[in-house]
């Protein structure tokens, strides 16, 4: 039993009023002369038991009367057996059309089964219901029943992953805020195990979560990520790596230059072979495929990695982008320090850089090169001089006073900066009142800028020396210097990844392309293993609120939680009877 106005139950405290009145009204009664007191005493002796019973009965009746009225005011809802129209209900129907819903299972798309159930749920709503539809984009769509049915019919597998835990929390909050009798969340999803891994949804009491039990899972593998480094593409696979016998199977991968309608012939092939971890499960497979870098002109290139088609086509292809560029002509001034000089020597050996003055790494001075990476001077007395030089070059950043030690935090993907200790640093401050661009600050310590870029000048908060920071002694130092001279000081951003339909978007500054974003499905969508009913129940609200139901039971249980009767009428009738009984006892037993 639930209550429509549970706060009214606070009025149950009023049930103590009859007893309190009985106690508080024990005042001194007026005294009156009355000669035949002997008759009164006799009458009272004879009536004592009857009067006590009457008082007790009246106390019970009055207390019950108040309790009944308060309960009626709270509008109790008692479940009804059998059919009948349901009470007004707020319902969110979550139709999970994430990429995995496009998988073909038993000859039909998973989404088709989910759409049929969603259509059935919406069809049973009435004009008194408040219904929203949520797709994989997480947007709650309201509208008429016909409009929602139309939306469901036109729904196709999307490219966004739906976190079911968060989606159900949002849906539950929405329906819980509605002033109606019933509150339900219908979950129509393939209930991938990976979609429930973000914790447990908090579902308010009174909200029912009905989940359609997942169908049979399918074996699938997909391309999780493609990164290009050193003229080769590293292709990571996700999903099931075992065959029906549980044996890891090698997966053929092809690479084409160009993507979408412009993709060319197969440029390279590879065979990804998964391994086994300690528990015998297959590990994620990866394969490195060399790209024909020698034949590619400098500039931004797009490619596409592909697997052989399987049950889920959405993750069988993934585009990637990379930039083909000649090595930077870089050098270090004597004041740059020995660690920088050593790193540049290593990079020159590996042909990542060649000797030249296009990029100069200095230590306390500001050479007139096209691109300059400036460390703070070793002598604090020279800081002011370098700050003035930066100002004359139009750089809006300055070194301020020495600041607190800390660790590095960077948004640079793959850079080994995060977590590196910084023992000594100058606080980098922005001169003037201009607003700094978010992209100008590339790394911070304690929330303060440590690595900033302005045009062709890059400033470091610490010298690249172990007396200042542990970075020169870390494995990521040489790659960091490589990124500094080849990419960061050139104003280029790294290749970013985003969720969406597979394609590549380039970012430009002026006429220059400075970065790219590669879109594709979330790698977790490739694992089509359904969650167990216990996991679904635990993740989506817990026992008593969440039910995982077969298609038939889902159709039967939908809105059945709101087939409840408002018992306030019966309680008011009972209150009337109690009042009549109280009146009868109070008058007829005198």
């Amino acid at each position: 039993m639930s209550f429509l106005h549970p706060l009214a139950l606070l009025g149950l405290a009023a049930a103590a009023i009859p007893a309190l009145l009985h106690l508080l009204q024990r005042r001194i009664p007026p005294e009156v002369d009355f000669p035949p007191v002997r008759y009164l005493s006799a009458a009272e002796r004879e009536s004592a038991r009857r009067l006590k019973l009457r008082h007790l009965l009246l106390l019970i009746l009055r207390t019950a009367l108040i309790v009944t009225i308060v309960l009626a005011a709270a509008r109790p809802l008692v479940p009804l057996r059998g059919g009948g129209a349901h009470q007004p209900t707020a319902a969110v129907i979550i139709l999970d059309n994430s990429p995995s819903s496009g998988a073909i299972v038993d000859g039909a798309p998973v989404l088709e089964r989910l759409r049929a159930a969603a259509r059935s749920s919406v069809a049973r709503t009435t004009s008194a219901d408040r219904v929203w539809l949520m797709l994989c984009d997480g947007v709650l769509r309201g509208g008429t029943r016909e409009a929602l049915l139309g939306t469901i019919d036109s729904t196709r597998p999307g490219w966004l992953r739906l976190d079911l835990v968060q989606a159900i929390e949002r849906a539950a909050r929405m329906v819980n805020a509605q002033p109606v009798v019933g509150r339900e969340v219908h979950v129509l999803s393939d209930l991938q195990r990976t979609a429930l891994a973000s914790g447990q949804a908090v579902v308010p009491s009174g909200v029912r979560v009905l989940a359609l039990a997942p169908g049979r899972g399918a074996s699938n593998r997909g391309i999780a990520a493609v990164t290009v480094s050193e003229g080769a593409a590293v292709i990571e696979l996700s999903g099931a790596m075992l065959d029906n016998d549980g044996t890891p199977q090698p997966v053929p991968v092809t690479i084409r230059i160009g993507a979408g309608p412009n993709r060319g012939e197969i440029a390279a092939r590879g065979l990804a072979t998964p391994g086994r971890d300690g528990s015998g499960a297959a590990t994620r497979a990866a394969v490195t495929v060399s790209l024909p870098a020698q034949s590619l002109a400098p500039g931004w290139w797009v490619g596409e990695a592909a697997l052989e088609p399987d049950e889920l086509r959405a993750d069988d292809r993934r585009p990637f982008a990379w930039r083909v560029a000649p090595p930077a002509r870089a050098m270090a001034t004597p004041g740059a320090g020995s660690f920088v000089a050593a790193a540049l020597a290593v990079l020159q050996t590996g042909r990542h850089t060649i000797d030249g003055r296009d990029v100069v790494i200095s230590g306390g001075d500001l050479p007139s090169s096209p691109h300059t990476i400036v460390q703070p001077p070793d002598d604090p007395a020279l800081v002011g001089q370098v700050n003035r030089a930066l100002g004359s070059r139009g750089v809006p950043w300055r070194w301020g006073p020495l600041s607190t030690p800390g660790v590095l935090t960077s948004s640079e993907r793959g850079g080994g900066l995060n977590g590196v200790a910084v023992a000594r640093r100058y606080r980098i401050e922005r001169a003037g009142s201009g607003e700094e661009g978010a992209s100008d600050v590339l790394a911070t310590v304690n929330g303060e800028p440590w690595l900033v870029r302005s045009g062709s000048v890059v400033l470091l908060g610490s010298r690249l020396d172990t007396a200042w920071t542990a970075l020169p002694a870390s494995p990521g130092f040489v790659p960091f210097v490589d990124a500094l001279v080849n990419r960061i000081v050139m104003g280029e951003a790294e290749v970013a990844a985003a969720e969406g339909a597979p394609h590549v978007e380039f970012r430009t500054r002026g006429t220059d392309t400075i970065g790219a974003t590669v879109f594709g499905p979330d790698a977790r969508e490739s694992d089509l293993t359904p969650a167990t009913a216990a996991l679904v129940t635990a993740a989506l609200g817990g026992n008593g609120r969440t039910s995982v139901l077969s298609a038939e039971r889902f159709a039967a249980e939908g809105f059945s939680g709101t087939r409840r009767a408002d018992a306030s009428g019966i309680l008011l009738l009972l209150a009337l009877l109690l009042a009549a009984a109280e009146l009868g006892v109070a008058t007829r037993t005198r």
């Binding site: 009664p29 005294e31 000669p35 009272e44 009536s47």
Partner: protein, 292 residues
Amino acid sequence: MVQRLDLLDPAEVARLGGIEIVAEGVVEGFLAGMHRSPFRGFSVEFTEHRAYQAGDELKYLDWRILGRSDRLFVKQFEEETNLRSMVLVDASRSMAWQGSPERLTKRAYADRLAAALALILLRQRDATGLVTFDDQVRQVIPARVKAGQWTRIVRGLLDTPDGQGTAAHAALQRLTALLARRGMVVLISDLLFDRELALAALRYLRHRGHQVVVFHLMDPAEVELSGPPEVRFKDPESAVSVVVRPRELARAYAETVRREIAAWRKACRRHGIAYHHVQTDMPFGLALRLLT
């Protein structure tokens, strides 16, 4: 239209004047309504004829009427001072109570009833006396028929203040010593005392050959319980008190009063005592008529 005082509301009649005026007015009206003396005996002075009834002595048959009309009539005679009456008035504190300011106290009602009764008896030339009592005998006026006796009786009533407790049996025992000759004893009281003790004394009087009449006076408020929601009722004589809710106890109380009256009536009947329940809103004439 001339109002008969004996049939008016006692409280209204009491406003006309003192006990003497009220009693005389009541008696005048009462006797006018009766058209004959309420108390009859056999004397040498003929008063009227009545039809013969089985058991009548044949010496009182009127032979002349029998000879002329062949019907049996007996002659009745008015007895002269052959009835000695004592009126006992309860003057205890409980009698000084009234349930409403519009009504007489039980004592005031009893005084007026006693005065009227004495006047009737004295007019019939019956020797009439008075005893007032509370927890002891307060006034004793021996039964006489001489002139001024009624005035003495009225004075005796007026001179008796409201007393304390009630000791009816003591007064009745004292009375037995005062009544050497057989006669009539009229007790006017609210009977709020021990019934068995009082009955023992009344039985003794009856045993001595007296005709005993009991007027049980009650205020209407003593019959029907009412009052505020909760009240402490205190007995003015014994200071015993009890807290009750009148609305809750009214029915049981009325039943108790009814049983008490019935018990008095039954006990009196068993011992040949005339018992009359009188409420203080009953016209005096109706109360007196109970004696006839």
